[in-house]
Point group: none
Chain length 193, copies 2
DNA sequence: GAGCGGATCGAGGGGATGCTTC
DNA sequence: ACGAAGCATCCCCTCGATCCGC
C-alpha cells in the first residue's frame, strides 16, 4: 500500500464515484482509470516519484483491509450495511409530521445525516425537465415552473416538492437505492412517507 | 489535502502517467480523470469526452490499408483494431440511461468520439425513404413524416429515432460494421441498446 | 413568489405493432 | 400472391404543474 495526497475536491469526487459499499480507493480508481490488477507490471515510464507531495510511507495506523474511502470522511455516521441502519431513523418523529411533504423532507434529512457523502452521490436525479435536488434553490426554480423547492432540514440541499405522493416515493426510493439500502429497508422508508 | 491509500501497482501506474516534472498526484489524476479544479459535487464522468486521455494511448499503427487513410487525421483517437477498443465505452453509464432510445444515442456518441472520421464515413445509411443520419435536423425531418430526429449528444449529428428497437440495432450494427469493428464487439454494442 | 399540500389531468416521449411498399 | 423490409400510427407510460381543497 502506498499513500498519496490529493486535494479535497478531487477526494470528494473520487469518493462520489463509489459504486459499492466498502469499495476501496484502489477499486474506484481502477474502475475509473480502467486499470485492472493484472496489467500492473505493464512497462510504464519509470516510477517518477509522485513528487514531494506524495507520502511514501504508510503510517500503520490505517486499517488496510477495509480502507473504504469513506472512513476518512469525518462526516460518516454509518453505512447501509449497518444492521442498525434503520435505528438512525426516528420514525416516530417522522410519522408525526403533518403531511407527506414534511415526512418526505425528514426522511431525506435522515438519509443525509446517516451518510452525507453517499447522499451527495445518490441525489443526482432529475425528471424529464426538472432538477430534483440541488444545493441551490434557484437552480431548482429555474428548471421547472412551479416545482416548489424546499430546503431539506439541517442539510445544504433543496428538493422539489410539487409532486404527487407516488413521485415522492419514487424519488426517495431512488436515493435510498443509490445509497445501497436493502430492498426491505427502502420499502420501510417509502411506506413512511 | 486528503490522504488516500492505494495499492502499489496502481501507485506505479499513476506515477507512470506523469507528464511534467513536479506534477502532483492531484494534477495527474485530474488529467486522467478529466476533472478540473472547478468540479461541482454532482459532476459525473462524461462518457464520450475521451479525447484527451485516449490520444496518449493510440497504439502503434496497424499495417492495414484503412488505417493509412486515417492516420494523418488529427482527430483519430483509436481504431477498432485496438484490442482495448471497447474500453472506451462507458457501458455502465450507457446502461443507466432510461430508454433504448437514450442508449442508442449514447452508443452512437461513443462511436463518434472514438473516431469521428470513421464515424462520418460509416453513418451514410438510409432506409427506403428516410434519411437516418444527418448534421441537419431539418433534412431528416424532410425525408420522413414522423421520424423524430434527435441530436446525438456532443456530436454534430442527428439520427432518426422513431423506429422499433430492432431497427435501432440494425442501424448501430451497420455503423459499427462500417467502422470495422469485430463481430463480437458489434454484438456487444447491439446488446447494450 | 409566498398559503400549502398534492391529486388530477394534460403534454410528450418511447417504441411495438400493423400497414405499406417493393 | 407472398414475403421481407421499412415506415409511422397510435397506445402507453412517465412526468409536469395546474388547480382545487383545506
Amino acid at each position: 500500500m502506498k499513500t498519496i495526497e490529493i486535494e479535497e475536491d478531487l477526494y470528494l469526487y473520487i469518493a462520489g464515484q463509489t459504486k459499492h459499499i466498502g469499495e476501496s480507493a484502489s477499486d474506484i480508481l481502477r474502475r475509473l482509470l480502467e486499470v485492472d490488477a493484472s496489467i500492473q507490471e505493464s512497462a510504464e515510464p519509470e516510477p517518477v516519484d509522485l513528487n514531494s507531495q506524495a507520502v511514501d510511507d504508510v503510517p500503520p495506523e490505517q486499517p488496510t483491509q477495509e480502507s473504504s474511502v469513506y472512513e476518512n470522511l469525518e462526516d460518516v455516521v454509518t453505512t447501509p450495511q449497518d444492521p442498525d441502519f434503520l435505528s438512525y431513523f426516528n420514525f416516530e418523529l417522522i410519522g408525526n409530521a403533518g403531511s407527506s411533504t414534511k415526512r418526505f423532507l425528514s426522511l431525506l434529512a435522515s438519509l443525509y445525516t446517516v451518510n452525507n457523502a453517499m447522499f451527495a452521490k445518490a441525489c443526482v436525479i432529475k425528471g424529464s425537465k426538472r432538477e430534483y435536488f440541488s444545493q441551490d434553490k434557484d437552480s431548482l426554480l429555474a428548471s421547472g415552473k412551479t416545482s416548489k423547492p424546499q430546503a431539506i432540514p439541517d442539510t445544504p440541499y433543496w428538493v422539489i416538492t410539487n409532486t404527487n405522493t407516488a413521485r415522492k416515493r419514487h424519488i426517495l426510493q431512488h436515493v435510498a437505492s443509490e445509497m445501497g439500502l436493502q430492498e426491505s429497508q427502502i420499502e420501510r422508508l417509502c411506506e413512511a412517507i
